[in-house]
């Protein structure tokens, strides 16, 4: 197993410790939770976790200049990054959560409130099966129709070419996006038991 230098970006509101627990379980020892520019520069791979409201998360990223630091690493140095939940949503151009707010603008698309048929509660909480459009690289170890844990009220609305998986919750919801070295998942792999651990393994092995 390659010992990658993994950095979980700490921007104040993510469930960083949960993500770290799951990745450590897979045996990766060079794992850091950090907001330090040097540490982020030296990393082989980045994780942008997410539990939080979009504007608060973006504000925190900007306040600690992480938006520019990450932009440089991801867009110029092509460092692989995996965004989780709101970490993925921040990759969009903008979001309509608590008013219109600008995102990192890495993947064309916007974050919209879930507009569901009656009988479907918002937030979308719980386990849901996903339909995988692109197996490689992050879903290569997962079965077709495997399930993951979702917990969100907003979703990434984008062109189909970026969608690597989606789920059905009354409407088709983007479950995962990818573009070059940028990956994002709406669900929480760190909280999706074996399926989530498999996803992390596939992602790290592809690097």
């Amino acid at each position: 197993m390659k010992q990658l230098k993994i950095v979980i970006i700490d921007y104040g509101v993510g469930n960083t410790h949960s993500v770290s627990n799951a990745i450590k379980h897979l045996g990766y020892k060079q794992l850091k939770i950090s907001d330090n520019e040097q540490t982020i520069k030296e990393a082989d791979v980045l994780i942008l976790p997410g539990v939080g409201a979009f504007d608060e998360c973006m504000k925190n990223l900007k306040d600690s200049h992480l938006d520019t630091i990450l932009g440089e690493q991801v867009l110029e140095n092509k460092k692989p990054i995996l965004g989780i939940c709101v970490g993925m949503q921040m990759m969009a151009e903008f979001s309509e959560e608590n008013g219109i707010h600008q995102g990192l603008n890495w993947i064309h698309g916007m974050v919209k409130k879930l507009d569901l048929p009656k009988n479907f509660a918002v937030p979308h909480v719980g386990w849901n099966n996903v339909t995988i459009e692109h197996n490689e690289p992050i879903f290569s170890r997962n079965d077709e129709n495997c399930n993951f844990y979702f917990d969100h009220s907003y979703y990434f609305h984008c062109n189909e070419e970026y969608v690597s998986a989606w789920c059905d919750y009354g409407v088709k919801i983007t479950a995962a996006v990818q573009q070059d070295n940028i990956f994002g998942v709406q669900f929480h792999p760190e909280k999706s038991q074996t399926n989530g651990l498999k996803l992390f393994r596939s992602f790290f092995n592809s690097i």
Binding site: N21, V51, Y149, H188, N195
Partner: protein
């Protein structure tokens, strides 16, 4: 349910029997394929202390499913710290009653999907009241009204627990749970009184809850979670992905596993079970 750092079996909100260490309980539940864990520390608020971070950090270490944490949360600072200790969501009870602003504040910072409001309901006459577990008194507001207020303030989920059924093994209080489900559009988790899979099936068939929650009965038998899910799966679609899935087993009228035929057991002696490597 945790009291003074120990997982307890709770009976009627006043009797507590020790079960063991939270970290061990979480690890086992996780291995048995639980979908989500709610860890409620009932002593923190009582003693007016902040959440027991070191206990939660240890408990979350082997938790690869969502962990909601409640007890002693009175400020945003507590929530921030909990998120650094492995919590994924927070559960508010006393703060939700007496400091509704904290719901809004937490929802605004961490998103409403992160905020669970837990309500304890008690039957009074023909209706229900919210029960204050600290002062041990009934409040004037009904659980349904309180749930609706919590939703307005920004809560993302409601955990409704029945005081009367707590630890009684008499089944969920369907009427109480329905009264809450009817008032809100956010997901509702039903809790209190579950004895076995049958109670969970009843809950799913007679209410519109998103999840069934149980504490006590999961702690006392090996593979309690996957066996329960296998029983539920016969009538309702639930997630069952553990290696030992009991799908082929017969379940008796008490919702316990029936013994397999001797011929099957003999064959099993020679089955090779490989450990799954991720």
């Amino acid at each position: 349910m945790v009291k003074d750092g120990i997982v307890v079996q709770s009976i009627g909100f006043n009797k507590y029997l020790p079960v063991g260490k939270p970290a061990i309980a979480v690890e086992y539940l996780n291995q048995w394929g639980i979908d989500e864990i709610i860890l409620l520390d009932i002593s923190a608020t009582c003693k007016q202390i902040s959440p027991d971070y070191s206990m939660i950090k240890k408990a979350s270490l082997k938790c690869y499913v969502p962990l909601s944490v409640g007890g002693g949360i009175t400020e945003v600072r507590h929530i921030r710290e909990l998120m650094h200790c492995g919590a994924d969501k927070l559960s508010l009870n006393q703060s939700a009653i007496f400091n509704t602003d904290l719901i809004s504040e937490a929802a605004h910072i961490f998103g409403n999907q992160c905020v669970v409001v837990s309500i304890d309901g008690v039957k009074v006459g023909n209706g229900y009241c919210v029960y204050d577990y600290i002062k041990k008194t009934n409040l004037k507001i009904s659980p349904a009204e309180m749930a609706s207020k919590a939703e307005e303030a920004g809560a993302g989920e409601i955990l409704i627990n029945s005081v009367d059924r707590d630890g009684m093994y008499s089944g969920y209080d369907i009427e109480l749970i329905n009264s809450v489900c009817e008032k809100v559009t956010i997901p509702v988790i039903g809790c209190g009184g579950a004895k076995n899979a049958k109670d969970m099936i009843d809950l799913f068939q007679n209410t519109s809850v998103s999840a069934a929650c149980a504490g006590n009965f999961f702690h006392f038998t090996e593979h309690s979670v996957n066996v329960t899910k296998a029983s539920i799966l016969k009538s309702i679609n639930v997630r069952l992905e553990t290696y030992a899935n009991y799908k082929e087993n017969n379940i008796n009228e008490d919702f316990r596993l029936s013994k397999k035929a001797d011929s099957v057991l003999e064959e099993m002696l020679f089955m090779r079970i490989e450990k799954e490597v991720i």
